[in-house]
Structures are given as structure tokens and as C-alpha cells.
Amino acid sequence: MNMAVPVRIPTVLRPLAGGEKVVEASPGSLADVFAEIERRHPGLGERLRAEDGGLHPYVNVFVGDEDARYLDGLDTAVADGVEVSIIPAVAGG
């Protein structure tokens, strides 16, 4: 079986994902992953982008356990079975 990439969806975006906590995509770049979840769940992939096409400023996307902003951004490679986590930006302190 072809391993997929699990994408963890935060509560705030689950209505756009049919209520699912995790949606699946195929390996590729992070941009590919977003494009695929946009095809499967219209509106969801787009919601993760800023108006200029980059990552939404209030979303942190982790590939495995590393923030994609500090990897290669939307060009970050997402391998088979590596989890992508979408986390809203919040404060602590």
C-alpha cells in the first residue's frame, strides 16, 4: 500500500475538512500537499495561504516536528509517512 502523508488539522479548520482531525495527501513538496488537500477539501488548502501565496501569518506548519518556515517553506519535501501538523499561532507566558 502506498503510504500517505497524514495532515493534522486544528479544531478551527476542521469544518473545512468535513470535521476530520487528519486528512491524507501524497508525498511531495508542502505546496503539493496543500494543493492536494485543496482539491479534496475545497477552501482548506487556500485557507493556509496568505494573500501573496506564502504561508498564512497566523499558521505554523510543521513537517515532522520542524517548522517549515525554517526548512524550505512551501518547497519543503514531505516524505512518505512524515506527518504534517497545522497549528494556529497562539501566545504563552
Partner: protein, 306 residues
């Protein structure tokens, strides 16, 4: 008399927790400060600057949003200096925090737990807009990163000849910014790594991503990487700190050490420094030391801990 930020906390090597024998992990134990957290530095620095600027004086009413430690540290100073302090805090923090605030004489305003610290910040800003309060605003106040630049960073540099990586939890970003800047000036190649707890996943009340918050204190371009630390990993490392190093640390400390150990696996050799913001006392009711890891993770769900 002018307030001086406290400091001089111990820096200890975590002999048993580095996954790489050629990487030394050092931890700065911030629970040695007066109210038991790193926020004693920040509270003193912010209040001192506000007094010097004449923004806070006799009879002042101060308001501050916090998930706990900053409020507790400010409450002690407000009590000593005769100010009235109102703390705006999410309702789903551990009860120990609210009890400490009450004992130190602060008034507590709770905000909905599902909005997390973002909700507390928004509500405190609303209350402060009426003009009755002075808000020190740790998320915005440059005195927050500055005190780490002036005290925490130099304390680390005084004890270690070499620092390759600094890892700290991301709350306001003050520690990462201030310590990171101080360390980089001495060792230009140092990597600054943030440990981020996935709190946003449990914030049911976030209506849209646009309700998110990035503290103005935090400049994302000033760090080199960010590691996601899930509650299970934070709890597991908090337990290892106690069982293997004899350090009774809080959960955000466990998260920071998890990220430090994770980064140690990526280095061939070197020195990683991290900061343990507080001790375990305020987390006893969260049950993180009790039962299996699964039970502890389930018990912690929906609680705000950083």
C-alpha cells in the same frame, strides 16, 4: 529604591539526558528566583522601567494578561510596592496559579479557556483601553527581551566557553530574543531554537486563523528553527528530569529539554544550553507524574500550561 531584576540562577549539566555523548546539554534553573520562575526577571524589568518613566507611581492600578508566571511575579512586586494588580488569565490554567495570585494579593479576571492566552490578551487590552489601568504588556514590552539580553544571556556566557545552540520555549519570545542576541554577539554561529507546544490544537474557541497572535516581542527571523513538542513528549521528559536528574521541573521545562535533546541528535558534537522556566509545584494538580503516560496525557488535555 530602583528595582533590580534578580538573577544568578544555577546552570547545571544534564548528564543523563543527552542522547549524544559528544553533545553536552546545560540547563539554567530559573525556579531559584523569588517566585520560582524566569518571570521574576521580566516582571522586575518591566516594572522598573515603568517606574523610571513615571508611568507607574504611588497608587497605580496595573493590569496584565498572563498564563500565570508573569502575573505571580508581578503580584509579589506590586504587593511590596503598593500597587493594585489585576491579572487576566485563562480559566483553564492549573488552580495553583490562581491560588498563588490570590495569596499575593492580586485580583484575578478569568477568560474563557478555549481562547487560551490570546483571549486573555484581548480582554486585558479591552480593559486597559478604558484608561483606568497601566498595562505593562509582556508580549509587547521591550524590557522583556532586554532583561534576558542584560542578565540571563551574560550569566550563561560567564559560565561556558562554548555555546553552539540555545533552546527555549516560545511564550512571549522574550527569552529567545534576549538570550539569543547576547549569545550571538559572543558566538556568532550560535543557533537559536524555539520549542513550541501545540496549544492551538485544543483552543476550541478560536473562530478563525485570523484570531491568532504573534507577540510583537518575537521576531521570527531572529531564530533558526522551531521544534513542535507534543504534550506526551513534554510529560515524558518532565518525568525523566525528575527520575534521572533529580530535577523537579515544570512542564514547559520538560518541553524545552525535549527540544534540546532532539537538537542534540542533529549535532556531531557541541554544547546545547536550555532554560527551565519553573519547577513542578504549580503542576501537581495536572497529574503529570501520576499513572501511565497515556493517563497523564489524557488528564492534561485542554489545560493551558505554558
Amino acid at each position: 529604591m530602583s528595582l533590580q531584576p534578580p538573577g544568578g540562577t544555577p546552570l547545571v549539566r544534564l548528564e543523563r539526558l543527552s542522547p549524544n555523548p559528544d553533545v553536552a546539554i546545560y540547563a539554567k534553573l530559573e525556579w531559584f528566583l523569588p517566585t520560582g520562575s524566569v518571570k521574576d526577571r521580566v516582571a522586575a524589568a518591566m516594572l522598573s522601567r515603568a517606574e523610571d518613566d513615571g508611568v507607574v507611581g504611588p497608587g497605580a492600578k496595573i493590569i496584565e494578561p498572563t498564563s500565570g508566571n508573569t502575573g505571580i511575579a508581578l503580584a509579589r512586586l506590586a504587593m511590596l510596592r503598593g500597587y493594585a494588580l489585576t491579572v487576566v488569565i485563562p480559566e483553564n490554567v492549573s488552580p495553583e496559579r490562581k491560588e498563588l495570585l490570590g495569596s499575593f494579593g492580586a485580583s484575578v479576571v478569568s477568560t474563557p479557556g478555549e481562547l487560551g492566552s490570546n483571549g486573555a490578551i484581548a480582554h486585558a487590552e479591552e480593559l486597559a483601553a478604558g484608561g483606568d489601568y497601566v498595562m505593562l504588556h509582556q508580549y509587547v514590552n521591550p524590557a522583556n527581551p532586554d532583561v534576558h539580553y542584560r542578565t540571563t544571556g551574560p550569566e550563561i556566557l560567564a559560565e561556558l566557553d562554548r555555546v553552539d545552540v540555545f533552546v527555549a520555549g516560545l511564550g512571549t519570545g522574550g527569552t529567545l530574543m534576549g538570550v539569543g542576541r547576547a549569545l550571538r554577539e559572543a558566538h556568532p554561529g550560535v543557533q537559536v531554537v524555539a520549542a513550541e507546544p501545540p496549544a492551538g490544537e485544543t483552543l476550541m474557541g478560536l473562530r478563525s486563523l485570523d484570531d491568532g497572535y504573534r507577540p510583537p516581542v518575537f521576531d521570527p527571523a531572529a531564530i533558526d528553527a522551531k521544534i513542535l513538542v507534543r504534550p506526551r513528549d513534554a510529560i515524558a521528559m518532565t518525568r525523566r528530569l525528575l527520575h534521572e536528574e533529580g530535577l523537579f521541573a515544570g512542564l514547559s521545562a520538560g518541553a524545552a529539554v525535549h527540544a534540546a535533546a532532539r537538537w542534540a541528535t542533529k549535532l556531531e558534537r557541541g554544547t546545547v544550553v536550555t532554560l527551565l522556566p519553573d519547577a513542578g509545584w504549580k503542576y501537581l494538580s495536572t497529574g503529570i507524574w501520576t499513572g501511565t503516560l497515556d493517563q497523564a496525557v489524557a488528564h492534561l488535555a485542554d489545560q493551558l500550561y505554558f
